[in-house]
């Protein structure tokens, strides 16, 4: 009963705030529109220098083939390797292909022809991918395997990012905002007035969280709408499963935000602690890099990272069409964390000193 009045108050305050409602609407839109384009790790238009020492029809054919590929952009054809290297140093080219003298002759003679590739690997994925692409072109006509790319046949990197981005937006809005909210009541002293009322810890905490749960859902739907409108993406799996998982996740992050704010005295402190935790959580969640590539100890750490589980759920349901029973282990973990953080939040809020 008391809860109703406290929730009412939170909404009125939110409505009065000139800045927050706008942030809640504009921020997800901006992120959804910009980030997928910015974070794409698709390597297009790699700048290539080709040193053709053979000057034969087949070396020229190879050059044309590379120039026509969507991955490469033929930048120049230097005479020597050292000349090519200077282009790399000046950051004018990313990859060098050297076709040796006698390339065609070897092929005609049925022997193995060889080429030399040098890639600027300062950006790791660029180097490795450029190398892979080039190898695919060089061997493509003769490749005998059939290759199937599941779930994302056009190899669109944005498809990979969009569901994960929704996770990030939910964390930023449903994690940071309740944390700042509670600390601001501490700073303005109103929390003291609430502390002398009979409102219980649970009621107060719930009243703080409820608005952000609702906001979380609004934002989720907004994100899903944008995913469809801009990227033509609709969930492969059931929307109900996404809602259910999101509910548990929102519970979890908002609880986490409250724990931080209950332990902080100033907004600046809450913000920094939150920022630091989120940075670690996001990096260790498999958002950008595969968890399996991590060393064993790091993989163990990711097991206690709640973000990892939700990120997996979003990608599984959205892209692979996984059903509820497929995501049961992840859901279980999320539920455990949600209960843990919320219990902690209720107990760390002290009415008495």
């Amino acid at each position: 009963m008391k809860l109703r009045y406290l929730v009412e108050k939170e909404f009125k305050q939110l409505k009065r705030n000139s800045f927050l409602p706008r942030l809640i609407l504009i921020f997800p839109c901006m992120l959804m529109l910009v980030i997928p384009w910015a974070t794409t790790q698709e390597i297009k238009d790699l700048r290539i220098s080709i040193i053709d020492n053979d000057h034969s029809p087949s070396s020229q054919r190879l050059t044309r083939q590379i120039a026509a590929s969507r991955y490469f952009q033929l930048k120049n054809t230097p005479k020597t390797y050292s000349e090519a290297l200077s282009f790399v140093e000046r950051d004018e080219t990313d990859i060098i292909l050297e076709i040796p003298n006698g390339f065609e002759k070897e092929q005609v003679n049925g022997r193995q022809a060889s080429v030399f590739i040098a890639a600027n690997a300062v950006n790791g994925s660029k180097g490795i991918l450029g190398n892979s692409y080039l190898q695919q072109i060089l061997s493509s006509p003769k490749s005998a395997y059939s290759l199937r790319y599941l779930f994302n046949p056009t190899l669109d990197y944005k498809v990979f990012m969009v569901p994960a981005l929704m996770t990030m937006i939910l964390v930023l809005l449903c994690g940071f905002l309740p944390a700042l909210n509670v600390v601001s009541e501490k700073e303005s002293g109103t929390i003291e007035q609430i502390n002398v009322t009979p409102a219980s810890r649970l009621t107060f905490t719930l009243a703080k969280l409820l608005p952000y749960w609702i906001i979380g859902f609004i934002v989720l739907n907004l994100c899903m709408f944008f995913a469809w409108l801009v990227y033509g993406q609709i969930p492969e799996g059931s929307v109900g499963t996404i809602y259910l998982a999101t509910f548990v996740f929102i519970l979890l992050v908002s609880g986490f935000g409250l724990v931080i704010s209950n332990h902080s005295a100033t907004m600046q402190q809450a913000m920094f602690v939150m920022w630091f935790c989120m940075l670690v959580f996001i990096l260790m969640s498999g958002l950008f890099t595969p968890i399996n590539s991590m060393p064993q100890w790091a993989q163990l750490i990711t097991r206690i990272n709640p973000l990892r589980y939700f990120m997996e759920i979003m990608r599984m349901v959205y892209l692979k069409g996984s059903a509820f029973r497929d995501i049961l282990p992840q859901m279980g973990m999320l539920a455990v964390f949600a209960i843990l953080f919320n219990t902690w939040a209720v107990f760390s809020y002290k009415k008495q000193k």
């Binding site: 800045f19 910009v34 384009w37 910015a38 974070t39 790790q41 698709e42 390597i43 290297l85 140093e89 193995q112 022809a113 060889s114 080429v115 030399f116 590739i117 890639a119 690997a121 300062v122 950006n123 790791g124 994925s125 660029k126 180097g127 991918l129 892979s132 692409y133 080039l134 190898q135 695919q136 060089l138 061997s139 003769k142 005998a144 395997y145 290759l147 790319y149 779930f151 190899l155 498809v159 990979f160 907004m267 913000m271 920094f272 602690v273 920022w275 630091f276 990096l283 260790m284 950008f288 890099t289 399996n292 590539s293 991590m294 790091a298 599984m316 892209l319 692979k320 996984s322 497929d326």
Partner: protein, 366 residues
């Protein structure tokens, strides 16, 4: 001079009395270097693989053994129907599958029907994984056929420049440097100045005989010191722990870093001039500085593959130019002449910010 010292001492008290924030400020570079250096990588490793095969013959076994023996792949499941395979993919248990045709050995090792199935939700990983699997399978088959592997193939000798062991380490260090310096110089400085406005102490400081601009500047000094400390931490960690050498001239590197620190401080002062509340300063530096810095400094995302519009926007982000210059000087080891463009742009940004800040600076309350 005495006033100046008193000011700086006071500012250090503020910083060090807030233990949690101090800990984070000092711990942040260390954590990030460890995470990026040791935990996070895009290397293909332990790819969870399933095999679909209904003919447990020696040939199939040989290919599977070869795959499993490589550090890239871990064979987790051997299944007998494509439904099972789909199930495993949907449960996120495998990332790659190799489907052998039913009578693999009888088809004289014909590879026509051999299929590599990759989970392409992460497209780059899918491409690299399948290229690797391809390579291992063809070698294995060649061994079986006892012929040379590349009968018809072109032999490729490849070499990765500057980063021969393919560690992603090399790439993120410059970005992290940009991020941390930006965080301390711009965000911390602006918040700490605005806090004085909000609590009302600024009112007294303004009426004091000290010059107002001088008051503001002296608030930036401790953050300058702190950022130097962090810069040193990052460089030492990357040289001695990550074994990333400083290939170019250390002096050039430090010079550019100082220039960037200057730009960030100016940015912090500018934000503090145009905002009135801590929350506003926090959100502006968070949204307008930190997120773009993470995205556009090339820590994770290559700028080249962004759409032109975003590449244009990235030109406005100081950290982009700094990271690019550091990458060149520290990792590629090129001389100063090659980073003239970056230096020039940073210099121009510094001058512009200083002009804007002096314009916007107020000697009075609003």
């Amino acid at each position: 001079m005495k006033q100046f010292v008193a000011f700086i001492r006071k500012e250090f008290y503020h910083i060090f009395r807030d233990r949690r924030t101090t800990l984070i400020l000092i711990g942040m570079p260390i954590t990030q270097i460890i995470l990026f250096g040791f935990a996070i990588s895009t290397e293909v490793k332990n790819v969870q693989t399933a095999i679909l095969s209904n003919s447990p013959d020696i040939e199939t076994r040989h290919v599977i053994d070869r795959l499993d023996a490589s550090e890239y792949f871990t064979i987790k499941y051997i299944v007998h129907s494509s439904e099972e395979l789909n199930e495993l993919f949907r449960q996120n248990k495998i990332e790659l599958a190799i489907a052998f045709p039913d009578d693999f050995n009888k088809q004289r090792l014909d590879t026509e029907n051999l299929q590599i199935i990759a989970d392409a939700t992460d497209p780059n990983q899918a491409i690299i994984r399948s290229t690797y699997a391809n390579g291992i399978i063809s070698t294995a088959l060649a061994e079986l056929r006892q012929t040379s592997p590349g009968e018809h193939l072109t032999l490729v000798h490849s070499r990765l420049l500057y980063n021969p062991r393919m560690q992603s380490t090399y790439n993120f260090v410059p970005g992290i440097m940009g991020l941390i310096l930006m965080l301390i110089c711009a965000m911390m400085t602006s918040i700490s100045i605005v806090r004085e406005k909000e609590t009302g102490t600024m009112e007294v400081l303004l009426v004091s005989p000290m010059n107002a601009l001088f008051v503001t500047l002296s608030k930036a000094v401790p953050y300058f010191v702190l950022s130097l400390l962090n810069l040193a931490t990052i460089l030492l960690l990357s040289v001695f722990v990550l074994k990333v050498p400083v290939a170019g001239s250390l002096a050039t590197l430090l010079g550019i870093s100082l220039l960037f620190i200057f730009v960030s401080l100016a940015l912090g002062l500018f934000i503090s001039c145009v905002t009135r509340t801590q929350v506003a300063a926090m959100l502006i530096s968070g949204m307008v500085l930190m997120i773009p810095t993470i995205i556009f400094s090339g820590i994770i995302f290559p700028i080249e593959s962004m759409p032109t519009v975003l590449q244009g926007i990235s030109c406005l982000i100081p950290a982009r130019w700094y990271a690019s210059a550091v990458r060149k000087v520290m990792i590629e080891g090129v001389p100063f002449a090659f980073v003239l463009q970056e230096t020039g742009i940073l210099m121009a940004m510094a001058i512009l910010l200083v002009i804007l800040t002096t314009r916007k600076f107020k000697n009075r309350l609003e």
